[in-house]
């Protein structure tokens, strides 16, 4: 029997590398276009959050509607440590990640006794509690007035004050985050996570401590969100509690589902689709409905979520990967048969 691991896991670096090079070349093309750069930077923040969430939701099958809280914890910790305490940026990021992991651990222990809708509601409630903290703990967060004057990010003696500089930083973080997550998925830990999604009772019967894994992946996803939040705070230099309220958590979830649960690139794809569609809507909707309020976004993404769940339960990333596969095999002049053996390529975990 062939025991090549690549028959199970797609560990090829070709696709990701091409993508990475394209992403790294983009800012040179759009160097003077801050709109494009800032759009891509936003995609970067969201991708980092949704990649962590994909591990939790897509692989372990555990829902969270409270991740905006961890995003906010990262943002406020970085803001407080750099602006108020005048400490270096990396300390803010690190302390943010530590606080997020401790909070997620403390919350996770009771919350993961719940399943399904109850888990969703509990995490939602947690998000509301943390939002209230951001709002009311005025001595640290500045309350609803917001937190002003967060200094630009400075790491390794480099200050990332322009969009052009920041772009590279955030995307390097995104790629590192995706690779870390991909490595996890393609290992013993990833299989344990997926087995929890598949059947908790069978998972325990083969010796998997499901509570431990649920908790570990919840903490990891909180750290992803926290780091993204820290970077975000340095980028926008002003934050307020509304940025981290319930709707943000729901948008994170929508991104994950649109992109595709069960694919490690799904978070990035979902984030990109969310940001691009959001920008497009801001352009188009006022032309059609002149007095539309900002609420149309909620309606639109709500409808999109329902449509995706009905027609593409595996998300858009799956469709995109099939498409890429078809194009690349056309290039190699291999006939693509609709009846070709289905399981060999397309179900490999990217």
């Amino acid at each position: 029997m062939d025991n090549n691991l690549t028959k199970i896991y797609n560990r090829s670096l070709k696709g990701p590398l091409i993508f990475f090079v394209v992403i790294m070349l983009l800012p040179f093309i759009f160097q003077s276009n801050n709109y494009i750069l800032s759009t891509f930077i936003m995609i970067g923040f969201y991708s980092l959050v949704t990649t962590g969430l994909t591990l939790l939701i897509g692989y372990a099958g555990q829902i969270s509607l409270g991740h905006a809280a961890f995003y906010g914890i990262g943002a406020y910790t970085s803001a407080y440590f750099t602006a108020t305490l005048q400490m270096p940026s990396w300390i803010g990021i690190l302390v943010g990640a530590i606080i997020a992991s401790l909070v997620s651990l403390i919350i996770g222990i009771p919350v993961f006794k719940l399943k399904g809708h109850y888990l969703a509601l509990a995490t939602l409630g947690f998000g509301v509690i943390i939002f209230t903290f951001f709002k009311e703990w005025k001595t640290i967060t500045g309350g609803l007035n917001g937190f002003f004057g967060i200094p630009p990010l400075s790491l390794f003696g480099i200050s990332f004050s322009t969009d052009f500089q920041f772009y590279f930083l955030i995307w390097i973080f995104v790629f590192l985050g995706i690779f870390f997550a991909r490595n996890i998925v393609q290992s013993r830990v990833g299989r344990a996570l997926m087995s929890i999604h598949g059947s908790e009772i069978a998972s325990e019967a083969i010796g998997i401590n499901i509570n431990k894994y649920k908790l570990q992946i919840f903490v990891l996803s909180a750290v992803y969100a926290s780091i993204a939040g820290s970077l975000y705070a340095h980028y926008v230099t002003f934050i307020n509690p509304q940025l981290f309220e319930m709707m943000t958590s729901i948008y994170f979830l929508i991104m994950v589902v649109i992109g595709g649960i069960g694919n490690i690139w799904g978070g990035l794809i979902g984030a990109a689709i969310y940001v691009f569609l959001g920008e497009l809507l801001k352009d188009i909707v006022p032309k059609i409905i002149p007095n539309a309020s900002g609420e149309f976004e909620i309606v639109f993404f709500g409808v999109l979520l329902v449509v995706i769940l009905i027609y593409m339960p595996n998300g858009i990333s799956k469709a995109i990967f099939h498409f890429i596969k078809r194009i690349t095999s056309n290039f190699k002049n291999k006939p693509v048969s609709a009846f070709s053996k289905k399981s060999t390529g397309s179900d490999i975990h990217d």
């Binding site: 199970i8 490595n183 290992s187 344990a192 019967a205 992946i217």
Partner: protein, 258 residues
């Protein structure tokens, strides 16, 4: 074959409200034996399995496995002592391929944690190679190695049963519990499974299984435990059981009357 006792169940009881699903049941399984638990529907067979594997807590009684009390232990802790199981209603991981299912079965034999896997430390690759090799062996043992890279959910029912067994074997347990392994299999698949189990026993595996198919039970069990209304009404070799009047009245008699 040694006479070492692997599993010892003493005065085990479980009541759901006022219903005594399992009442004062005691029996032993020795190393290398195939023990069958039979009884009419609702006799408490699956409850007994769930008690032994820690899925539900016992009301009273003792269960010792390899000399260690496993009362109050979580299922994953019991599994790591070397006891795995299959399920009456299949619990295959549908979100994975066949081989990944079996590789997941090797979980307790591996070490990679979340950090070492995320950073892909050098030993991870070695471990993955080994676990894949091991999984292929387990699949070969049950005869479905050619389906290794199929999605688990695409397998026909009979092969999913074999997959569950391969997954249970991948943990290298000393004891496997099979909950109605023949249910839903056609006669040919059943015979195939009987051969698989017999081969595994030759390699030193111990089995406890619940089964309705009397032909299978009589052909492979060394010992049979008969339950009726939660109580043990008989225990013995297939010959003893098939001539036991109490058993015939409770179970075999009804079957033959149909």
């Amino acid at each position: 074959m040694t006479e070492e006792t692997l599993l010892k169940v003493e005065n085990l009881s479980k009541s759901f409200g006022g219903v005594n699903a399992v009442e004062n049941v005691s029996f032993e399984v020795k190393k290398g034996e195939i023990v069958a638990v039979i009884g009419p529907n609702g006799a408490g067979k699956t409850t007994l399995f769930n008690l032994v594997t820690g899925v539900i807590p016992a009301t009273s009684g003792k269960i010792t496995f390899k000399g260690v009390s496993i009362i109050g232990k979580r299922p994953y802790q019991i599994a790591s002592l070397g006891m795995t199981r299959t399920f009456q209603n299949l619990q295959v991981f549908n979100n994975m391929t066949v081989i990944e299912n079996v590789m997941t079965g090797s979980h307790i034999r591996l070490k990679t944690g979340i950090l070492s896997s995320g950073l892909r430390l050098p030993n991870v690759y070695k471990e993955e190679k080994e676990v894949m090799q091991k999984a292929l062996q387990c699949l070969e043992q049950v005869g479905i190695a050619d389906l290794a890279f199929e999605r688990a959910e695409t397998l026909p029912y009979g092969n999913q049963r074999l997959l569950e067994i391969a997954r249970a074997v991948a943990a290298e347990p000393s004891f496997i519990l099979l909950d109605e392994p023949m249910a839903g299999l056609n006669p040919q698949e059943s015979r195939n499974l009987v051969n698989v189990l017999k081969n595994m026993r030759k390699q030193g595996m111990t089995f406890l299984f619940v089964e309705h198919d009397m032909e299978t039970v009589m052909s492979i069990a060394d010992k049979i435990v008969v339950l009726d209304y939660g109580k043990k009404i008989a225990e013995g070799t297939p010959e003893e059981i098939s001539s036991n009047p109490k058993v015939i009245a409770a179970y075999l008699g009804e079957e033959e009357a149909i």
